[in-house]
């Protein structure tokens, strides 16, 4: 399964999101890689199943075929767990 964490630049915000999402996925026992990318790369991606981003950027990626999940608090593993579970399980 392919999951993308996306932010404007692909080096800061999305990397932190990737790290905590991977932590959560490990805890859930799900084998998935999370790739941190910028908005342009995410928009062009056609094979990602889930895109993680922030509420401020979601309007830029609405037309993606992937399921888009927004995370408010990047360090709240419970929020990430809850939202990923809803999408995956």
């Amino acid at each position: 399964m392919k999951i993308i964490a996306v932010c404007g630049m692909g080096i800061g915000t999305s990397v932190l999101l990737k790290m905590n999402a991977e932590k959560v996925l490990r805890q859930m026992g799900i084998d998935a890689t999370v790739e941190a990318t910028d908005m342009k790369t995410a928009r062009e991606s056609r094979d990602a199943q889930i895109i993680l981003t922030t509420p401020d950027l979601v309007s830029l990626i609405e037309d993606s075929p992937a399921e888009v999940i927004t995370i408010d608090h990047f360090f709240d593993l419970e929020e990430i767990t809850e939202k990923l579970s809803a999408a995956l399980l």
């Binding site: 932010c7 915000t13 932190l16 790290m19 922030t54 950027l57 593993l77």
Partner: protein
């Protein structure tokens, strides 16, 4: 040392405590100036950091009270590193979930991959609410060094 990679990434001159920011642009500017002062970036990178805020909105506010101010890898980045700025009074960035901001982490990355160890430690550090509170309550830069 609790966060050795962070301690190394935050160079001499990259910490400022209790600054007064007039607005969010000013806060991001100060965060960028610390990267310049510590030899990580050129002043044009700071301008880009402010531009990112204008273009993409307040998404850089990633958790309650915390903003990750940054632009992207380019020749404006001299070396990968971080700056750390705490504000005397919190500033509104316009982020519905996480306003207002009291802590700004400035990020400069030389490329897309070489800062992963640093980001991993940063994620661990900022996930620890007690640690974040200690940063915010620190009275001077030396106290922040001790915390790292």
């Amino acid at each position: 040392m609790r966060f050795p990679v962070l301690a190394q990434s935050i160079a001499e001159g990259a910490i400022r405590v209790g600054a007064i920011a007039l607005d969010r642009e000013h806060a991001v500017e100060m965060s960028g100036e610390l990267l310049v002062a510590s030899g990580r970036t050129t002043p044009a990178y700071t301008e880009e950091m402010v531009a990112v805020l204008e273009t993409h909105g307040p998404y850089i506010v990633i958790a309650p009270g915390i903003a990750l101010a940054h632009s992207k890898p380019s020749d404006l980045v001299i070396e990968t590193g971080l700056s750390l700025l705490t504000l005397a009074e919190p500033v509104v960035f316009g982020n519905a979930a996480n306003d207002p901001v009291s802590l700004l982490i400035g990020l400069a990355a030389f490329d897309h991959d070489s800062h992963m160890d640093m980001m991993k430690e940063l994620a661990d550090a900022l996930s620890d609410q007690q640690f974040v509170n200690s940063l915010l309550n620190a009275g001077d830069t030396e106290e922040i060094r001790q915390l790292l």
